[in-house]
Symmetry: C3
Subunit: 303 residues, 3 copies
């Protein structure tokens, strides 16, 4: 039939990007190669195709990135950003919304606040679907673009020392990136306050945990900083917000350090570091565009 | 001059689609023929043209359908979904808004909560305009797509027994569809609670009214189910909400029954019937896209 | 580097349109010539290019105009109209938002409620940027389209008598237009109540001020009427709202008068004057589209 049976991760990523667990190293090589080719030249392979951007939660950054990716490829985007005002308020189920909107589209991008929304959507969708964030679940295209950034900035991934710093407990971005990095031969350092440390299920032997950047800054190839999501902290929790990168850190760091951040930032990296050529977080946005272009072409480019 | 004088229905539908009363059977044949041709192939006859989607009331389904129709034809859409935040709040009249926005567009789609809004807009518009719902008034493109669905699913309209069930009192969708069906040789059955029965002005001799689906399910070719719009019922009114189609109904129905619903649904058709090939309500969405493509091409396709 | 240093008006307008002060008569001739050429024919020189429409304040009219301008040229637009719901609420700075969104765009249009927002945005932007209104500051494309309207309606600007009437104190539109007109050989009349008169810094010798239209209506070539922005008046201020154009005024005016208004209007020009061929305010909207097309092509058309 036209719909999927959701058998954990037994879905080809070309039909639905749900989780980073769907990708092998060979898949990633293929996507990254295509992303690099699409970033130059101006072919428009998706002319006449349309994408529905279905966002139950606002996310200017992610929705704009998919919007730009689709239109640069010649396609059009139907933006549905205010689902609260839509027919959903008339009591329609997510499944019915998906089956209705897919009539107008060659693919769907879905962001939803419920963790099970992706699975429910994929179970009925007959066009390719991309998970753009499902609550506390995954945000696989973010993890792919983070990995692509590392690959583009350094030329390779194997052999690198990668330090992740900030709120490692809540950020789905970090969790998905760690999963992807497990496919490579990398050394991982985790820097966070005790209360925001990486859940133990993500830890492996060989990893190192620290309360401060100081011991690892000099050996780090990639420094990935995340926002402390204050809105998720209990009111009574007092966090030492000193998890910001300083000029002094940069002075001690490698000359070819890559400083990354998924943005938005709220103080973890002060603006005076933006002019440092090692600051890669805005280039990271651009790489994200290219990765999403590659996914869209892979998923809907073939008639 | 460039503006219309609104002489009841003396407006050619190619200049403004206001009401189903504007269409003859020959018009409908032409539109449906074009819709069928546009549904295959990927010509883009509206490249370089633009449409303003002006929605004073939210309607994801309808606005997305026009958005998709226009972009599939190569055109672009200027979506104006939040008129409450727009210059209207500065006291601008609807007429001025129409005359301003038409400067940017080759056609306008208008949904408004006031029944007289379409007439006022048409009186000043110098580009083609489509009524996408005017309060308790009409929603002519919905009625056309319903009729097109019947035509495509069964190959013809004449000779069919068509049963409409649910809230027949309030739904403008039902009223407009009934008007269109009067041009064909069909048998109409109406199934509703007494309190929600079809207004007598829409009834004709030969029609039959029922309180229950039971007596007519076996003879029905097309079963058109509508949502009970609870928000329009008085608080004190207790409705027997048993107006849902059941598996047992489907077992008794014809093998080539066509089960339709304008969506969204809130229980009138349980999801377990979705896999029945006679369930046509999602195909109905797709047919709607094709009908709207045909209208747009007819109205703005010729330079 | 890729970013601008904001040295007052030492920015070429092709890189950032910030203020009317950036334009010479030769620049204006060039833009108007291009606008006229783009208004006929249907070339699509911006195919494959994209524009981010970043509106911190709602403005249907202006955002739609840029949207239409970009799409008519073959490009696409990423509309970001609800910045309040976006990542900005997560504490992101305007500068970071600009640097993020420019990754997805070939140009940015920015409307912001803060007067210093344009300067801050330009200081970090590496793609062309157009100021679409910065608080009480400027709205340079509106002034350009007003001037273009005069030029198109009369064929020339030098030698005309131009009367500006209404709230001359608050409207940035008037202030910017006056600045542009100073480059031409024109006679300027200002008509307003005392409380809403033009700030003296904009006045020059040769200008005339009046409390009423009566003494100047017969000699006026261009009558530019603006809205009294009641929301900016103190509650205690009682204004004589008789600053409306009447049929009698039109009878006394020149046969080739050009009656302009930036819209929306709220009574300054009664709708019964709309059918007078001298009423140019809706044509003004169309001219605005052409001017914005010319700016976009000039700023991003060359690879």
């Amino acid at each position: 039939m036209d719909s999927y049976y959701m058998n954990d991760l037994d879905i080809p990523w070309r039909r639905a990007v749900v989780s980073v667990d769907q990708f092998s190293r060979a898949d990633i090589d293929e996507i990254f190669g295509l992303a690099a080719r699409l970033s130059v030249g101006r072919t428009m392979p998706l002319t006449g195709k349309s994408l529905v951007n279905l966002f139950y939660e606002p996310s200017t950054r992610t929705s704009s990135s998919f919007y730009a990716a689709m239109t640069r490829l010649g396609g059009s985007v139907i933006p549905i950003n205010e689902v609260n005002y839509s027919s959903v308020t008339k009591g329609e189920s997510l499944e019915d919304t998906i089956r209705t909107l897919e009539c107008y589209a060659d693919a769907l991008v879905l962001r939803h606040y419920d963790e099970d929304a992706t699975e429910r959507a994929v179970s009925v969708a007959s066009v390719p679907l991309i998970n753009a964030g499902n609550g506390a679940g995954e945000h696989p295209t973010q993890a792919l673009l983070d990995l692509y950034t590392i690959s583009k900035e350094r030329g390779h991934i194997d052999g690198l020392t990668i330090t992740l710093m900030g709120d490692l407990k809540h950020g789905r971005t970090v969790h998905s990136l760690v999963k992807l990095l497990r496919m490579y031969d990398v050394k991982l350092n985790f820097v966070s306050p005790q209360e925001l440390s990486l859940p133990s299920s993500y830890l492996m032997s060989g990893d190192s945990e620290y309360l401060d950047l100081d011991p690892v800054i000099e050996d780090t190839d990639i420094l990935y900083v995340t926002r402390v999501q204050r809105e998720r902290l209990a009111d009574t929790m007092v966090i030492d917000f000193s998890y910001a990168v300083t000029r002094d850190d940069m002075d001690r760091a490698k000359e070819n350090l890559v400083l990354m951040h998924p943005l938005p930032r709220v103080g973890e990296i002060p603006p005076e570091l933006d002019s440092d050529p090692r600051a890669a977080y805005f280039r990271q946005m651009k790489y994200g565009l290219h990765v999403r272009m590659a996914l869209l072409v892979s998923m809907i480019g073939r008639d």
